[in-house]
Amino acid sequence: DKLDDLKEQGYVRIAIGNEPPYTAVASDGKVSGAAPDVARAVFEKLGIKDLEASIAEYGAMIPSLQAGRVDAITAGLFMKPERCNAVAYSEPILCDAEALLVPKGNPKGFKSYSDIANDAAAKLGAPGGGTEEKLALDAGVPRDRLIVVPDPQSGLKMVQDGRIDAYSLPVLSLNDLLAKSGDANLEVFAPVEGAPVYCDGAAFNKNDTALRDAFDVELAKLKESGEFAKIVEPYGFSAAAAMSTTRDKLCAAQ
Amino acid sequence: MDQPIIRIQDLRKSFGTLTVIDGLNFDVMKGEKLALIGPSGSGKTTILRILMTLEGISGGRIEVCGEPLYHMQRHDAEVAADEAHLHKMRRHIGMVFQHFNLFPHKSVLQNITLAPMLTKGETRAVAEKRARGLLDMVGLADKADYMPSQLSGGQKQRVAIARALALQPQIMLFDEVTSALDPELVEEVLEVMKRLAAETDMTMLLVTHEMGFAHDFADRVLFFDKGRIVEQGPPAQIFTAPQEDRTKSFLRKIIAAGQRV
C-alpha cells in the first residue's frame, strides 16, 4: 500500500504554502516552519526519513494532491466541510483564529467582517478561495469590495498603500507579517469577532485513508509525549487548542 | 522520317477561367532548333513551363522521347502521371530561366554539381570534372569557387546554362535568357548559345524577343499569338516575308523599338 511505497521510496512529497510562520524558508533555501516540522516528525516515526517540500499556491494544492503530484499537504489549509469532502484530513495540527491587518489605531473600528460589510466604502483583502474570503462573503461583504490578494506580502503592501482598508489572515500569519515589515503604522486586530477558530490537518488524497490513519496514530503519540508542543509553540501556535478539538467536529462545523 | 522527340497534341491550358493555350499541335524533331516568338502574354513561357513539368496541363497530350509526359500506363489503362513518372521523364529535359534561378547559397561549381550528384549518383570527382569542362565552355573556368552574388548577370546566365547542361538532357528549353541582362552583357550569353547550337545535336526550344538572334539560331520559327501558332517556317521566311498581318505588325513594332542606331 501507499505507506510501504513511501517507505521504499524513502521520502514523502508535501505541499506547503509561502506563508510564515506556517512555512519558513531560510536564506539557504532550507524549508522549516510549523507545518513542515510537524510533518517531518510524524513521517520520521512512520519510518520515512526525508521530506521533499514544495511551495505551492494555495489554489494549486488540492489539485496537486488529486493529481498525485504530492502525497500530503501540510500548509495551514484549514478544515472546513467542503474541504473535508475533497481530501482526507488527519487530526488537527495547527489552530489559529482570524485577524485583520489595519492601520494603527484601527481608524474605522473594524471588529468583525460585518463591520466591513456595513461600511459601504471599505475594502477588504483576503486570499482567493480562502476561509477569510468565505467568511467575509457570508457576512455580506459584496464581491466588488472583497479584493483577492495573491500572497500575504502583497496584502501588507496594499494596506500600506491604502489600496485596501483591512487585510484578513490568521492571527499568527499577520503577526509574523507585521513583525517582518517593521511598520509602526499598522496593527493587527485579533481575533475577528464572530469568526471561529480553525485548525488545519495534514491533507491526504481521498484514496490514501490508510496512510492518513497511520499518520493519525503517530500524531496522537507525538501530542501525548509533549514533543508536539515543543515543535509548534516556538512558532506561536497553541498545542492545547489543537488537542482540544477533533477532525470530526471541525468537518461538521458550519 | 524520324519519330519526333516532342509531340504536342491538342494541348490545352487554363489558369482558372483564363484559357491560355487552346488546342495546340506541333512536333519537334530530334536535333531541331526552334524559336518561339510572339507578343507578351501569347503563351510562349507557358509552353516551356509545361514541357518542364512546372505547370500541369488542362487537356491534350504530350509525348517526349516516345513516352507520354503527363500520362502513364497502369494496369493496362492510361492514368495521370505521378511524381515518380514525372521525375523519370524530366531526365530528358533541361531549362534555363530568364532570371537564372541559381542557388544563391551554393558556389558556382556546387550549383552545377548538385543535381548530377543527387539525381544520378555521380561521385563528386566525376561531377566536378564535367562541371569544370562546362565552365570552360561557357568561359567561366576561373569563377568556379565564386558565389552567384559575386557574378554579373551575364556570368550568372552562363552558369545557369552550364548547370542545365550538366545533366546532359536531350532537350533544352531557353526562356528569354537575355532579357534580364544589361545590354552590354547580352552578347556573351548569346555567343555561348550560338556555339552550343552549332556544336551539339541537342533539341532546343528558345523563347526570345531578340529577333536577330532567333534568326541566326533557329531552324524553324513559330510565331504565337493568344496561345496559338499564327505562322511558322524557316527564319528567312518569317522575318523577311511574313504572310499573316498579325506577324507583320508585331515585327514592325519590335523593329521600331529595337533597331535604333
Binding site: 511551495i55 496537486s64 506580502q153 517593521g182 | 512546372l54 547559397h105 543527387l118 552574388s149
Partner: protein, 218 residues
C-alpha cells in the same frame, strides 16, 4: 529582515531553473516547430489538418490553461510528468506552435524560382527541401526564432503556477520571507534582461554565420 546574500543565492537557484526551462523548452519548440511547420505545407491533407489543429490550438489558448492541463489533467490519463517536464512541455509546445508558422513562412518566402530550378534539374521533393529550400529558409527564420526564444524565456515566469521554483517564484518566496518588495523584483528584472540580452547576442552571431555567403541575394 535578512541575509541578502543568502536570499540572492535563492534567487540565483531560481535563475538556474529558468535557464534550464528556457534551454530545454527552446529545444523542444525548435523540433516541434519544424515538424508542424513542414506538416503545415505537406501534400497530404490529414497531415496538414493535424498540424493546423495543433498550431491553432496552442496559439489559441492561453499558456496558463495549457500548463494547467498538462500538469493537472494529463496525469489523470496516466501520464505522470515531473513539474520540470510539464513546464518544458507546455513552453515547448506553446512556442513551437508559433515557431511552426515561422518555419512555414520562411519556406514559402524562398522565391518560387528556386523551387522551379530544382524541378528543372530534377531533384526529388526531399532533395529540394534538404539542399535548396531549407538552407535558404533558415536565415529567414533566425531573427524570429530569436524573438520566440525571448518570449519563451519570459513565459517561464508562469510556471510558478505549477510550483516550479523558477526565478519569479523564488523572488516571491524571498519577498514573503524578508518583507522587501523592491529588492527581489529589481534583481530579477535585471537578471531577465541579462538573459534575454544573452539570447539575442547569441542569435545575432549565429545569424551572421548562417548568412555568410548569402550577401546580396535578397
Amino acid at each position: 529582515m535578512g541575509d541578502w546574500a543568502g536570499y540572492l543565492t535563492l534567487i540565483l537557484q531560481g535563475a538556474w531553473v529558468t535557464v534550464k526551462l528556457t534551454l530545454m523548452g527552446s529545444a523542444l519548440a525548435l523540433v516541434v516547430a519544424f515538424i508542424a511547420g513542414l506538416g503545415r505545407i505537406s501534400r497530404r491533407a490529414p497531415v496538414r489538418w493535424l498540424a493546423t489543429a495543433y498550431i491553432e490550438f496552442f496559439r489559441g489558448t492561453s499558456i496558463f490553461v495549457q500548463l494547467f492541463w498538462i500538469y493537472f489533467v494529463l496525469p489523470m490519463t496516466g501520464a505522470e510528468l515531473t513539474p520540470m517536464q510539464a513546464g518544458v512541455m507546455a513552453l515547448g509546445l506553446n512556442v513551437g506552435a508559433y515557431g511552426a508558422e515561422v518555419v512555414r513562412g520562411a519556406i514559402l518566402a524562398v522565391p518560387r524560382d528556386q523551387l522551379e530550378a530544382c524541378v528543372a534539374v530534377n531533384l526529388t521533393r526531399f532533395q529540394r527541401m534538404r539542399h535548396v529550400i531549407l538552407p535558404q529558409a533558415l536565415p529567414l527564420m533566425l531573427p524570429t526564432f530569436c524573438n520566440n526564444a525571448i518570449e519563451l524565456l519570459k513565459a517561464t515566469s508562469v510556471v510558478s503556477l505549477i510550483s516550479l521554483s523558477d526565478m519569479t517564484f523564488q523572488a516571491q518566496v524571498v519577498r514573503s520571507q524578508t518583507g522587501s518588495t523592491l529588492m527581489p523584483f529589481v534583481t530579477i528584472l535585471l537578471l531577465y534582461f541579462a538573459m534575454s540580452s544573452a539570447v539575442s547576442f547569441g542569435m545575432r552571431r549565429l545569424e551572421r554565420r548562417v548568412t555568410r555567403g548569402l550577401d546580396g541575394v535578397r
